[in-house]
């Protein structure tokens, strides 16, 4: 059976006044039914743009998907026309955005916003849609749901709004949910609530999820598989347990070392990654991480490393073998 989603060599560039920003530059990955994929990276690494490209939501101009394939259930989404794409968005693939404050319409009731997609995609009447919406709210842990359908977004707290977003994302039984930083705006205790809700809902329905986040802890807790992105490329991909136990790309290693851990007493010093993320309009030749990389050598400046297999289902885009190479002291 083909995978649920297969992204091949996706490239999304933005044409701006200061030059061409290669936000996503040749990204390939696939996703099975019911799998939870973590997409990790810092701001500007291209994780959100990858997601928006899959949904074909990149604003054009200035953005443009210049090449690649996004095969979803055997169909290339990039070849569909506008109407066909609309019937997939919110139905087969839905998206949960970062800001629960701004992604809900403040002048429509929660019920109106929840039932809109249900009526459109599942082709049911108003009453059936409302019943379904109430059930969905109940299942994300909002009590007295029938009455709360008539409330407006401002009457909900931040955590509840994000749960409404999850209910909305789940409303048409999607095969895939893309959650873009779903809990970044929330406090930790609320973050835990929201993620538990999301996890139990997708487990019950065998929905696949792409979680985009910069929080390595969230990925460790919830993802099956992890793609680490840097400067528009996936630089390492592996099963979550494997990636954290045995990271192979110097950037991944650097990221894991630079965060203090809650369960460990203080070590002497944190080991930050030196330097700044590169300017995407003017990427250097070769590996884009090499200016910050302690393992870099001549080859890194000449040739861009492809994803090389380094273990069972574990790929890393790096010429150096970090197990043998000695990091340079800077």
């Amino acid at each position: 059976m083909p995978p649920l989603l297969e992204v091949k060599d996706l490239k999304t560039y933005f044409y701006t006044q200061s030059g061409v920003v290669k936000a996503v530059d040749g990204v390939s990955f696939s996703l099975e039914d019911g799998e939870i994929l973590g997409l990790v990276g810092e701001s500007g690494s291209g994780k959100s743009v990858s997601a928006l490209s899959i949904m074909r939501l990149v604003s054009d101009p200035p953005g443009k998907i210049i090449s690649g394939e996004v095969k979803f259930m055997g169909e290339d989404l990039l070849k569909l026309n506008k109407d066909e794409m609309r019937s997939i968005r919110g139905h087969k693939i839905s998206m949960i955005f970062q800001e629960p404050m701004t992604s809900l319409n403040p002048v429509l009731t929660i019920g109106k916003q929840l039932t809109e997609a249900i009526e459109l995609h599942l082709k049911v009447d108003k009453q059936a849609a409302r019943d379904r919406a109430a059930k969905l709210l109940e299942s994300v842990g909002i009590s007295d749901s029938n009455r709360r359908l008539d409330d407006f977004p401002h009457q909900f707290s931040g955590g509840m709004r994000q749960r409404v977003m999850i209910a909305m994302g789940m409303s048409c039984n999607p095969k895939l949910i893309i959650a873009d930083e779903p809990t970044t705006a929330l406090d930790v205790t609320i973050q835990a609530q929201v993620l538990e809700v999301l996890k139990s809902m997708v487990a019950n329905t065998n929905t696949a999820v792409i979680v985009i986040t910069h929080n390595l802890g969230v990925v460790a807790r919830y993802a099956d598989r992890v793609n680490v992105m840097y400067a528009g490329k996936i630089i390492e991909t592996a099963k979550a347990t494997e990636l954290y136990a045995n990271p192979r790309h110097p950037y991944t290693i650097g990221l894991l070392k630079s965060v203090p851990r809650l369960d460990e007493p203080k070590k002497d010093k944190l080991v930050p990654i030196e330097g700044q993320p590169p300017d995407l309009t003017n990427l250097p030749a070769g590996c884009s991480f090499r200016s910050r990389c302690p393992y870099a050598f001549e080859k890194c400046a000449v040739e861009t490393p492809p994803l090389l297999q380094v273990g069972d289902n574990h790929f890393s885009a790096c010429w150096a073998d970090v197990r043998k190479a000695v990091p340079a002291k800077k």
Partner: protein, 338 residues
């Protein structure tokens, strides 16, 4: 560092004490009415918080948004006039001072803000931003000295001196936060309130700024009040940690005790909610998922204000406010059940 004793309202030796906060309350009035404004309620942002800060230590202040941690920090700097309570800085109650008397003290107490984008004036270049406090406090005699001071501050925080002519938009987030640090250091303070200094930065940059803050503390013998919601960062940088919930302190102790042996149910839940970047550890951890949301500080619940979400609450919690007491030496907690 050996700073075990940490009792609020203690009358013991005060040599090592820098700041004593006693019964601090900060209420913000809520007004109604279009022309004639009438006070209808108070938001109890901080409602009776007591703790000490020793010289040279880092006190971590953690809690979720709206728990009053930033307000507490700003009260200590007298950026707000507290509603009630005492704040003693080297033994002097600064809440009783007039603004003109506070001015020389402000040199000793500085703040680093959370948002490196919003806290720098976009129309001033880096040199002018860092130099302004030096001029205001008249710390230099000549122009040459001024230039020298600004340049040495820039290199101290890891920026190039030639960057002093650049404007904030030309810097990255991490660099801007370094400018904020340099500005705070410009008047040679003893005490700095770091209000979420790394929350807005990317993870790889966070570590750079945290290391910078630690180096400066060693070199300049600074005392920090480190306000953050990221418990992992607080564990790394703090000597002692105070946990706040809805305007009240619920637990205070040294960092290792807090993380290894938390007593208050809120602290336990908070710690268990933080995901650890290691799937092996994660799969074995016990999680306490709190239900419900934080109540409004406009109308906090009676008794212990955590009882509405507390997994071990009993009847007494609903009516009696738990006392802030020293359960073990140096380990303060406010809960009926411990």
């Amino acid at each position: 560092m050996t700073q075990q004793r940490t009792s609020p309202s203690s009358t013991k030796s005060t040599d090592n004490l820098l700041i004593q906060v006693q019964g601090l309350k900060m209420y913000f009035p809520v007004n109604a009415g279009l022309i004639i404004q009438k006070k209808i309620a108070d938001i109890k942002a901080v409602d009776g918080v007591s703790f000490d800060i020793m010289k040279g230590e880092t006190m971590g202040l953690v809690g979720e948004s709206g728990c009053g941690k930033t307000t507490t920090g700003r009260c200590i700097l007298m950026l707000y006039r507290p509603t009630a309570g005492e704040i003693k800085y080297e033994g002097v109650d600064i809440t009783k001072l007039k603004n003109s008397e506070l001015r020389p003290l402000r040199r000793k107490m500085q703040i680093i803000f959370q948002d490196p984008y919003g806290s720098l004036n976009p129309r001033m270049n880096a040199g002018a931003i860092i130099g302004e406090p030096i001029v205001i406090h008249k710390l230099i005699k000549s122009k040459a000295e001024y230039r020298e001071r600004v340049e040495s501050l820039l290199s101290e925080v890891g920026l190039n001196p030639y960057m002093s002519d650049r404007y904030p938009h030309e810097f990255s987030g991490g660099q801007r936060q370094r400018i904020g640090v340099a500005r705070a250091l410009a008047v040679e303070p003893q005490f700095i309130v770091c209000d979420e200094p790394v929350s807005a930065l990317d993870v790889s940059i966070q570590a750079q700024v945290i290391n910078l803050l630690e180096e400066l503390q060693d070199r300049r013998k600074l005392t920090y009040l480190f306000i953050a919601h990221d418990l992992s960062v607080v564990r790394h940088i703090s000597d002692r940690v105070c946990v706040m919930y809805l305007g009240k302190a619920v637990e205070l102790t040294d960092r290792n005790t807090l993380y290894e042996n938390p007593l208050h149910p809120y602290t336990k839940a908070l710690l268990s909610a933080v995901p650890i970047p290691d799937p092996e550890v994660e799969s074995k951890r016990e999680r306490i998922i709190l239900t419900g949301d934080v109540p409004s500080p406009l109308n906090p619940p009676p008794g212990c204000n955590f009882h509405t979400r507390c997994p071990i609450a009993i009847d007494i919690c609903k009516s009696v406010i738990p006392e802030w007491r020293e359960k073990d030496p140096g380990h303060w907690v406010a809960c009926h059940r411990v």
